[in-house]
Assembly symmetry: C2
Homo-oligomer: 147 residues x 2
């Protein structure tokens, strides 16, 4: 049997990735709980704030790698909270346009310092964060290329 060090390494990569993502999400959730928000709800708002205009459900899903089965209930909660409004696209009735409300825009300012607070707590160096970001982008590209 040949030695395959890359196999042992691969074995050990999925668990840290899984644990790190949940750990960061948990930290965000702790800070966001002051606004009664969850991390996926916050991520959805980030996608909307980042866009110049309204997005369809599918466009939000592309940006977050989530499908309608996940997004529909998240968007309903954001709508109930008053942060977004949903309406069918008149030009194509299959689509639903999601836009931020004035309350949603006001929220943006109240949570502007959340990422800084979370990442400062982790003690991760900016150079490490940059490197981590580059590696994750490479991994995501590889994953997207599969299907």
């Amino acid at each position: 049997m040949t030695d395959r060090p890359q196999l042992a390494l691969a074995e050990q990569l999925c668990l840290p990735l899984y644990a790190a993502a949940r750990g960061i999400t948990r930290r965000y959730a702790e800070v966001l709980s002051a606004e009664g928000m969850t991390y996926p709800q916050y991520a959805t708002m980030l996608a909307l704030w980042d866009a110049p205009g309204p997005l369809t459900v599918g466009e939000i899903g592309e940006r977050l790698h989530l499908d309608s089965g996940t997004l529909t209930p998240v968007l309903k909660r954001l709508e109930n909270a008053g942060y977004v409004a949903r309406q069918r696209d008149a030009a194509d009735e299959r689509r639903v346009l999601v836009r931020t409300t004035p309350e949603g825009e006001a929220l943006r300012g109240r949570v502007a310092d959340v990422p800084e607070r979370v990442w400062a707590d982790t003690g991760l160096q900016v150079s490490d964060a940059r490197e981590l970001r580059a590696l994750l982008d490479r991994l995501l590209s590889g994953l997207d290329a599969i299907s």
Copy 2:
């Protein structure tokens, strides 16, 4: 207002981490579905296979960063599938010892090539995987140091 590039970077790190972890978990789940397993169930088996003897629920939780609220139902499904056995520790009746069954040990061989298949598909270089692992470990250490 001062420029703070590290803030913009931090903003952009949580989403790739979140998406990459779910993307890899989804790929594992696709491959593991042949055995009727989910990723958390597989991760739990990895922890047990890696240990020299039985583990308590809490010891599995330390290794995977999960609590009993998540692990108890996962362990029940693994027990129903015949892969693990649970028994109260006679020396301390608060604890539950979890051990692999012969079927659980047989499973180990059947899923031995799963990580290699998943990671090969991503096209990630071994050197990148090693670097990613190191950065995730640093992040996890930072997270553990908070609470």
